[in-house]
């Protein structure tokens, strides 16, 4: 495991900065809501560490005082089913992360995934340290924000309606960059089309589950078209995959 340098920290902060700002603001919103339901900032802090899923935590607020524990569990499973999809696609990348693996998977939220679901980090940065720091900064921002929200949130008069659009914007920039980097647009189109179709057919609550099943099914069935004979989608433009940690290479332990 290589020592964390200030260069690693700087690169991770640059990557995380839009997420940090948004998570602090959204976290404050969650902390205020918890406070209104009679739960002190310490509760928000605990929930941010134990659950660490914004959507699940917002839903949990009304379930804390009463209601079926089993239903709460099932609700959380349904809400975060998309993480199955994300974790599966990180296995190859995180396989050599050693003892850091546990934390990297436990704290893999949508935004961290969007930033880290590629093979390398910024140039000259230790990729293992970079992954750890981005994951940690993102989670810390959320937890700190939710603690602050319960503590001083009522003093803020700033209208934050619409701030959650920052995450949509963030995913959109990654989408565009991926589109520019790749000549094969089938996976990108598939992701949008399958999810949109499922949203229209299955309604707002469960559409991600059929969407993921369809996406994985099509990706497997169309493998020959996406990566014809021994090619690799990442090298299609003739750019070498570069720092390919799947091949073993440097051990991070």
């Amino acid at each position: 495991m290589r020592k964390i340098t200030s260069k690693d920290i700087g690169a991770a902060l640059r990557t995380s900065s839009p997420i940090i700002v948004t998570f602090i603001v959204l976290g404050i919103g969650y902390g205020i809501l918890m406070q209104k339901h009679g739960y002190s900032p310490v509760w928000s802090l605990l929930s941010g560490i134990i659950i660490f899923s914004g959507t699940a935590q917002f839903v949990s607020v009304t379930m804390l005082s009463s209601g079926s524990v089993l239903m709460a569990g099932i609700t959380a499973l349904m809400i975060s089913a998309r993480h199955v999809f994300f974790s599966i696609s990180m296995i190859g990348r995180y396989n050599s992360e050693g003892r850091r693996k546990g934390y990297l998977y436990y704290a893999l939220c949508d935004e961290t995934y969007a930033m880290l679901s590629k093979d390398d980090g910024p140039e000259g940065v230790n990729v293992s340290n970079y992954r750890l720091l981005v994951t940690l900064f993102d989670q810390s921002a959320w937890v700190i924000g939710s603690f602050l929200g319960g503590w001083i949130g009522t003093l803020l008069t700033f209208d934050s309606t619409g701030i959650d659009f920052a995450m949509t914007a963030l995913f959109t920039t990654v989408f565009i960059q991926q589109w520019l980097d790749n000549r094969n647009h089938l996976p990108a189109v598939l992701g949008v089309a399958a999810t949109l179709a499922c949203r229209l057919i299955f309604g707002r609550d469960i559409f991600l589950i059929p969407a993921m099943v369809i996406i994985i099914g099509v990706l497997i069935a169309a493998r020959g078209r996406i990566e014809p004979e021994g090619t690799d989608i990442r090298t299609e433009n003739g750019i070498p995959a570069g720092n390919d940690d799947l091949a073993g290479g440097e051990s991070h332990d």
């Binding site: 975060s80 990180m90 992701g191 399958a194 707002r204």
Partner: protein, 109 residues
């Protein structure tokens, strides 16, 4: 059971459920020294499908049939796209797009 006891249990149960969705796939497919070839393939291609999935997920409650017909979202996404193609700077595009969106939903629509 006291009310706090119930809250603690709900947080732990929901936490375990969320953790399971993040860890169980790894325990099933990532145990051995060598990761199955199919999983490596999905690892390479799923990120290219996942951003579209996340964008649609973020916009799942956008009203299309009633006013304002998703106009704030469409305008702000157009701003994100144009600024990103222009500057290739994530933070710049996120700030511009979000500020525009907040202005639109708070003051215009």
């Amino acid at each position: 059971m006291t009310e706090n006891g119930h809250a603690i249990i709900v947080i732990i149960v929901m936490g375990m459920a969320v953790l399971a969705t993040r860890i169980v796939p790894v325990l099933v497919f990532g145990r051995g020294e060598k990761v199955p070839e199919l999983i490596l393939y999905l690892g390479r291609v799923v990120p290219y499908t996942a951003m579209g999935l996340l964008i649609v997920y973020c916009l799942r409650d956008m009203p299309v049939l009633e006013a304002p017909h998703g106009l704030p979202e469409i305008i702000a996404l157009a701003a994100v796209t144009v600024t990103y193609l222009w500057k290739r700077n994530t933070i710049f595009s996120v700030v511009i797009g979000t500020a525009l969106y907040m202005f639109l939903v708070q003051s215009v629509f």
